[in-house]
Symmetry: C2
């Protein structure tokens, strides 16, 4: 029995097909449309699922179902996706699941939050295996997270748990892309980092960040741009990433002090690109704030990287 | 069937006797010894339990058991109390339960963390009734807290959950009594508040706080001293309590953003003394940081006040 998983991101659509052991046997990737509304997004998902099925040598009609990980949340009553403001035409609730079911011709389509499904994947198949109590932190354009407590995902009273990026680390601090002040994401999210870098450059701070971005032909300062600037020893990049690491350390330690978990997993574009050294620095930044002895909290890099979302989406069908 | 509950605090020992409906039918209070080690503490607990039983007109020998809420944590393997550094002679683990059982002549004695038992009491008998997901915050000399998730107390992977007082609200901020920097307790705990008030007074800031404390004959700046200073319009007291409220608001909102609960309960000496207006101000201070619509999170004053610890300790015997 094969199932498909789709990670619907702000920039790309990653698809996988997994077999009944959860092994990835096919994959494909597309670009998230920037216009055309939900119909264009559904068309791209359809293309990606078909390509991934072809890669897996499985007929689309034979798929047992499709799982989709998406920004936003799913209304448990209607099944509609809401709050996915980054996607074109998704300001109002969208019945994404039934639209994809009709378009692909597959009966069962389940939609879940992207961070939640990536957490599911890391917990069942990745670096989070074996931990009953786990905090995941995905640092990308924003910083999202999720909690596994007692072996179960913590959805929250209003399906809103996991907003570690919006824990306050500096009262009255930097303005966050969310509009609040002093959130961890205001220091550690890529949107905030790019804004800070551009402001510093505009104020005359010398930096290679903009040149590297242009050279790499990126519309935004991607994690790869930050990695290249750090590798080149760019002082502004180092200063801003140092600050991001301090904010991540403070917020993660605060979260651990509150809920007391066995392990913390760090993933997302920044985690994946900057890798193990970045994770070790976040771990070090946690120590001054941590109530437990640091040896009692395992801090790990996510194992599934770019595939965590799509693999976890496929797992949605097995819940 | 009657049971006794004892709240072993840093300054006082509060005892209650409850009937099988959890109703308080007797009470007594003593002072926590400042010397004499665990033996002196056990002797005082014995006196208080006997007096509370007498008040309830129940023979001590007829008590089904005694629950004790104490600072520190109980080792689930040995039953020893550890980490209760505020109590005289409790730096090393103490077999408090068996010592009290022998001294009082009651077979069953259960010891639990003071904040945990107060949370139990508020959840089962007080302002937390009916909430499956609940955060409690007890602001006293320090600031402790606990989480009820899915109707169950969250102990944590290392029995260390609930340290909301040591969530970071100002990276690199004020020194906390715990030795770390920028913790919420560094702004909102009474030990930190008194330290800040004394430092300001020593630096020449005019304030009535010290005079009120002396007039009330208190060895420390108790919650009652702060209340009197606020009522008298003391500007320094207002400034420091404003700061405490901001810190509480930021940390509580951060906690809610992470775990998503239905309700927040505020208790402890400061909550009890400053009452409903204080709780409403903390609620207002949460709003700028809260991810959920504020209407979805109920913020309440604890209902059991000073009795929460002793009532919850009695409940320990019913788990």
């Amino acid at each position: 029995m094969h199932t498909a998983g789709v990670d619907l991101g702000g920039t790309k659509v990653q698809g996988v097909v997994v077999d009944h052991d959860g092994k990835r046997v096919g994959e494909a990737r597309g670009k998230t449309p920037v216009s055309g509304g939900p119909e264009a997004v559904v068309a791209e998902i359809t293309t990606v699922v078909k390509a991934a099925a072809k890669d897996a040598k499985v007929a689309v009609g034979k798929l047992a179902g499709i799982g989709i990980g998406s920004p936003g949340r799913v209304d448990p009553d209607t099944g509609d996706l809401f709050g996915a403001a980054n996607l074109p035409g998704f300001r109002d609730p969208v019945p994404l699941g039934s639209m994809v079911a009709d378009a692909v011709g597959v009966k069962r389509v389940v939609v879940g939050n992207d961070v939640v499904v990536a957490t599911l994947a890391e917990h069942r198949l990745g670096a989070g295996r074996g931990f009953d109590d786990l905090l995941t932190v995905f640092a990308g354009s924003g910083v999202g997270g999720a909690l596994v407590l007692g072996g179960e995902l913590r959805a929250g009273s209003h399906w809103a748990a996991g907003e570690i990026g919006h824990m306050v680390v500096v009262e009255g601090g930097e303005l966050c892309p969310c509009g609040r002040r002093g959130c961890m994401e205001a220091y550690a999210g890529r949107v905030a980092l790019e804004r800070a870098a551009r402001a510093a450059a505009a104020a005359g701070r010398p930096t290679e960040l903009l040149a590297i971005q242009e050279r790499q032909g990126r519309p935004r300062m991607s994690s790869g741009v930050w990695k290249a600037a750090l590798d080149a020893g760019d002082p502004l990049a180092h200063e801003l990433i140092d600050r991001a690491i301090e904010a991540l350390g403070a917020a993660i330690a605060s979260a651990v002090n509150l809920v007391d978990v066995q392990a913390v997993l760090i993933g997302g574009g920044m985690g994946d690109k900057l890798g193990e050294p970045f994770v070790r620095r976040v771990e070090t930044a946690m120590i001054p704030h941590l109530f437990l002895p640091p040896s009692q909290v395992e801090v790990r890099l996510g194992e599934l990287g770019d595939y965590a979302g799509a693999m976890g989406a496929a797992l949605l069908l097995r819940r």
